[in-house]
Point group: C2
Chain length 291, copies 2
Amino acid sequence: MAKTPSDDEVRARLDAVAYGLAVTPGFRIADLDAASTPSFDAGRTEGEKLLARMGERMSDLQERLYAHGRTGGNRSVLLVLQGLDTAGKGGIARHVLGLVDPQGVSLKAFGRPTPEELEHDFLWRIRKALPPAGRIGLFDRSHYEDILVPHAAGTADADELTARFDAIEQFERELVAGGTTIVKVALWVSRDEQYARLRERLERPDKHWKYSPNDVDVRLARPAYEAAYDEVLARSSYDIAPWYVVPADRKWFARLATSALLLRALLDLGLGWPEPTFDVTTELARLDATR
Amino acid sequence: MAKTPSDDEVRARLDAVAYGLAVTPGFRIADLDAASTPSFDAGRTEGEKLLARMGERMSDLQERLYAHGRTGGNRSVLLVLQGLDTAGKGGIARHVLGLVDPQGVSLKAFGRPTPEELEHDFLWRIRKALPPAGRIGLFDRSHYEDILVPHAAGTADADELTARFDAIEQFERELVAGGTTIVKVALWVSRDEQYARLRERLERPDKHWKYSPNDVDVRLARPAYEAAYDEVLARSSYDIAPWYVVPADRKWFARLATSALLLRALLDLGLGWPEPTFDVTTELARLDATR
């Protein structure tokens, strides 16, 4: 049996993963090898074993986070997931957040805005869905759709896009100041893998519900989306909330890499167990009197 | 390897479990053997194996339910969990709902009502937390607290309690008519087991956050709560939403029994995969043109 690595060793390894996924200046998403597995060359079987081990650690840290949230702490973690159709956002929700207690998780999938949502600023529905203190939140799509979609469709001019970038940065700085750690992940699949996954949704009756004719329209607009992602990654990767790009043709790797980023964020909170808010000796005596 | 049982065999077995947990006329909760394991005499190891197998089945049925919710279906399942402190409600949320995709689950824990909630009818906050179509909802405590607490404290007269029972029955009938299956479970621990669990929360620093001095106050009022539960179980067990009482001194059994009740509800929905809302041949051709 392998020796359990120390926290410092785990942390160094997670830093290496994060470094390998970080957005670098001049990055173009069309150049990414979506089948690559940066910082991890041990293959799928080892990857799945490692994911299970990381899950145990995440589960322990998630409980500490939850405990702090229940006793007045303000920390939370928000995982922002972006990606084209079939990139595997739902699989991350299921297989990564499925590793921890569902009570400590707050999931929100953003679709096309409703008429009520359109009557408000674009961040209104986002603010309403923020994870409460003590939770790990997951946004399946997010406020970045409000840049990606008009950018790709060409329906917003440069000033409007700049205003949205500014609003988002201010919003994220406010969240971080309030105790939220933001982990932004763009999952990226190749054209070929996207084709194969859409084809499977059309071929299998148990997958039909996941398909929408709009998926093909968006696929046809893929170059415009690539340009939109490039701009988002370049303009909204900053110290307090950088973007990570996760190659997602191999589902096991996308889950492993995203888990690594999440585990790193949880470790960084440095949470022990909260101090009791009552006198333990007194309460032991009160309890024993009821025996 | 054991032969996979047919749906009819599974259903017959689940019916037997439900029958063994159903509330019978004249039932008194103080008479329940909380360490018993009705309809299941194979022990913990077998119980845990069976739970894992049921989890796979639940997971498949949950995905069908979710698929229907995404394509216009109105069905949902609501698990209402009641029980005294330490009865294991959180463990059910974690270990039973943890068996299925977190995206398909909607969890709500009800605490003491907030000032805003108190300005509304007692069902206002309950309605706001109902699971959307396609989801499995879990209420950790529920509208039944609005009978149990005043009943145990003696702060509501008979007419008020009757009015609440009537409002609840009308509300539940409305939910069922709208497509929701309601599964009501009261988890019950013995006095001794409750003592041991509270003692553990006081002895272990990683459990302190789960303890509240109020837990001892409620323990002292246990006979009043027993009477309140007896009245709730007798007066709100009706055809469309009966109560089940799950002996919960053995955590593995409480999880197994609650899972069985939930699986039975999911099987009863009889859901296949939804029909496509588009023409498959047309879409295959459109997709192939993008290859």
